[in-house]
Amino acid sequence: MAGDSATIETGPREDVHSPVALSVQGLQKIYSSDTGDVEAVRDLTFELRQGELVCLVGPSGCGKTTLLRCIAGLLDPTAGTVTLDGAVVTGPPKKMAVVFQEYGRSLFAWLTVRQNVELPLKNAGMPKAERQKAVSEALHAVGLEHAESSYPWQLSGGMQQRVAIARAVAYKPEVLLMDEPFAAVDAQTRADLEDLIRRVWKELGVTVLFITHDIDESVYLGERVLILSNSPTVIQEDLTIDLPADRDQLTTRSLPRFTELRTHVYAEIQKAKRGKGGDA
């Protein structure tokens, strides 16, 4: 599990004393179909401590979504286990929120934006006044307060994605899983949303697993970056991001350490892609 770059510290930070929140042990997933089996994930082992914000990067099709769906209890692993707060995950755990890659399809077409965000809260039995406040705040945070009575299909792609994010944030989960949540939003909004996630993370102490393709984003956001190899997928590197805890779009991104880290991640991903049976 140790990294191979001299200047870069890899492996989970030893000075973090919070207990383990999420533990993935020897996870394997094979999709079987008529046309043959596909081994999406071979053998993944890693841990997330409570309140950690970890980014996951890896080549397209390497099994990130598969991993996320196993963690969310939506998919049974072929081998290995996922443990959340000491309990093995067999179905979707409580107080977990997921933002799916297919944002457009994860919204309820028959509910307005506000109703979409409100639904999980209502289901959790939150009192009305509190609920409405939470929804309004979340919509404001993603910049959609003006669209709250529109239906999802009346929104642009980026706006839909933000609704899904608002829904997850308003839910105030203990564990937040996000699958390329900013893929469809513009650079400026993206920066704002990145800061939103870090703010939410700090304020709520939520454990976050964040899948992204954007290397800068992974370095800017994460406390740790997990790099997956090309399939058959294993963890290629577990990189600790030793940037200051208070981050800021302008200063943090211009730190020399930031550039070092991003260059390192980039090189690793390129290695990941070439390392095994090349994907593109």
């Binding site: 079987s32 179909s33 008529d34 769906r69 939506l74 998919l75 049974d76 179905g91």
Partner: protein
């Protein structure tokens, strides 16, 4: 049992059925189906044996089964069965192909849909049985009379489903097809038809049952041979067990038809959510 099954059943297409791993080998669906039939027969037998209904008016299941076995030894029975199945098959084929063609012509055009709407809604609820004098007038007591009823009744079943299916084409997919220069015909073949296919399948299964009902009813009321005529004969002769035996045979034809439809569906719709969720 219900609770457990219903939480694990509506999983995503990629997840294999949980019980395949957890609870030992699942019962194959045909075993369950047979169990269902056995359960029903047992209930029937009990209802009669316990005297809830007099055996004179509703013979026990065992008596009816015995009668079926007896019937199966006579050649007239098989001739009647063959006749019924032939009328049914021809009627359904005519109705279904006509309905699919009409549906594919009317469905994609807003103008045609609106222009024909009132007429369709007017003609649809006209009971086929009310057309009996007309059928007899045109075709006497020959097979065509019954065929007319069958075609009339089954046509609407399939047509409505085709119309709904055609309306369900994904606009993004449709835009894709149009932008790649697929003409009207090519779009029907490559886009509209596959999208409507699940609906057509439902329509076919509905239509098949209605066609069977009308075949038997037509034979019953108009005469001219077939299971329906045999039922009428048994009825007017007071041969109660034989009548029920024939009714059960009519039902069994329905079961067989559905089995065939399911197999066809599984092959034709292997890509559809509803099928692929279960195929795994």
């Amino acid at each position: 049992m219900t609770a457990a099954a219903s939480t694990s059943s509506p999983v995503s297409p990629t997840s294999p059925p949980r019980r395949a791993h957890g609870r030992g080998a699942p019962l194959p669906s045909w075993v369950l189906g047979v169990l269902g039939i056995v359960g029903f027969l047992a209930t029937w037998e009990l209802v009669v044996r316990s005297g809830l209904v007099e055996a004179e008016y509703l013979p026990a299941a065992s008596a009816v089964l015995r009668e079926i076995a007896e019937l199966a030894g006579t050649s007239e029975f098989w001739a009647a069965l063959g006749r019924t199945v032939r009328t049914w098959a021809i009627g359904l084929a005519i109705a279904a192909s006509a309905a699919v063609v009409v549906g594919l012509v009317i469905g994609p055009s807003r103008f045609l849909r609106r222009a024909t709407h009132s007429t369709i809604e007017f003609l649809r609820p006209i009971p086929s049985v009310a057309l009996i004098p007309l059928a007899v007038l045109l075709y006497g007591t020959s097979m065509q009379s019954t065929l007319l009823l069958v075609v009339y009744a089954a046509f609407w079943q399939v047509l409505i489903q085709v119309l709904y299916g055609v309306g369900d084409v994904d606009p993004v997919a449709s835009d894709t097809a149009r932008s790649f220069g697929l003409g009207a015909l090519a779009r029907i073949r490559h886009l509209t038809w596959p999208t409507a296919l699940p609906y057509v399948m439902t329509g076919l299964r509905l239509g098949a049952a209605v066609a069977l009902i009308l075949t038997v009813t037509g034979e019953l009321v108009i005469g001219g041979g077939g299971i329906g005529t045999e039922i009428a004969l048994a009825n007017s002769g007071g041969a109660v067990p034989q009548m029920y035996a024939l009714v059960v045979v009519a039902g069994l034809i329905g079961v067989v038809v559905n089995l065939v439809a399911r197999v066809v569906e599984r092959r034709a719709l292997h890509w559809h959510v509803s099928v692929r969720r279960e195929a795994l």
